[in-house]
Symmetry: C2
Subunit: 212 residues, 2 copies
């Protein structure tokens, strides 16, 4: 099956995990093929939206037959690289860092948190979820000795930019940023911001629209 | 200034907080007007994307003058209802619930967490960030006596649906869901999901694209 991921706009990419989850559930229910109409009802999107989204990835449904669910799942997993392994570290071992480490433990994927770091001596030299919490002063040495794919920033906004610089200078190529700091990175670095503010203000927008 | 928020697609709405933040920063730097070109360079969007986005909300820049920053900020704040007050409760007083309460304390808005709830007796009858943590058995009574706008779900995926039902049955109209559970609600209820999975798989997609 041909994939055209290079041409997909980011909003389409961001919808893929939702497709993935729904298709996996269908497969578990013993369903092997589905029409765009049935999938649209399940997912709360329009059938034409679904056809358009899946066409980006070469998932062409057959007329009168629909989509082969197993094929679609494989294509989506391939595009999102869900089945790769990702070694992560978390910078910041406060409530947010710990919540993220819980989350990753439950994530249906191959991400693993190998270490956490904090500047606060009261939080370091401890173990949480079987993960060692090191002092930030040990970061450089740790990154020399361990191959880490993703640095997760769970630090206050005020230190986000500095911590990002720090991990990049020590060889990190991918950042998952929960810090709400605006972090500019070079073209060779990948950054994904967990947009908590955007989500909250989307909620307040929906609340005001709901009252109209 | 005329606003056309009703017609704006959600991706545009989700970009507005970023516009808001950048425009506020410009104002603090003493800048009062800006061209779509300058704004696009600052925000990493194309100038035509910016013109298109802002046109949805009646923010029409004048030829050769650009956008009046103060006006745009007012329109965006009005659309997102940023300046309203929001009384929130958090269900789940673990690391995630506590991280969210920290986040809301630092939020540049008028959201306030009035209470937290948990089923775990080891977490209740305590105070965190000056917020009382109650037992879930007290929720019904609490919601009768207090006017709450938003229930924030910081519970495990397994209890997300049940807790959502619980708060809705007790009069809550708006939910901010951090639980990763898929929660279906009626048309009179507003729900915004903090899409952690979507964000993680967007990151893994970007990582794989970066390696090509």
């Amino acid at each position: 099956m041909q994939t055209l991921s290079k041409n997909a706009p980011m909003p389409v990419v961001r919808r893929l995990p939702k497709y993935h989850r729904n298709l996996k559930e269908l497969l578990e229910e013993g369903i092997t093929k589905i029409s765009s109409k049935d999938l649209s009802e399940r997912m709360g999107l329009t059938a034409s939206q679904i056809r358009q989204d899946l066409n980006y990835f070469g998932g062409f449904g057959q007329q009168g037959y629909g989509y082969n669910i197993e094929d679609l799942i494989k294509v989506i997993e391939d595009i999102l690289s869900i089945n790769n392994k990702y070694n992560c570290i978390i910078i910041g071992a406060g409530n947010l860092g710990k919540a993220i480490s819980n989350y990753i433990l439950n994530l249906d994927g191959n991400a693993k948190v190998l270490a956490m770091f904090d500047v606060d001596a009261g939080k370091t030299n401890k173990i949480f979820n079987d993960i060692n919490i090191y002092n930030m002063s040990e970061l450089k040495d740790y990154l020399k000795k361990n191959e880490i794919d993703i640095a997760i920033l769970a630090v206050p906004k005020s230190s986000g930019v500095e911590v990002a610089k720090d991990v990049i200078n020590n060889g990190i190529k991918s950042i998952w940023n929960f810090s709400t700091a605006d972090i500019a990175v070079g073209n060779d670095i990948v950054i994904e911001n967990m947009a908590i503010n955007e989500s909250f203000y989307t909620l307040t927008y929906l609340i005001s629209e709901n009252k109209k």
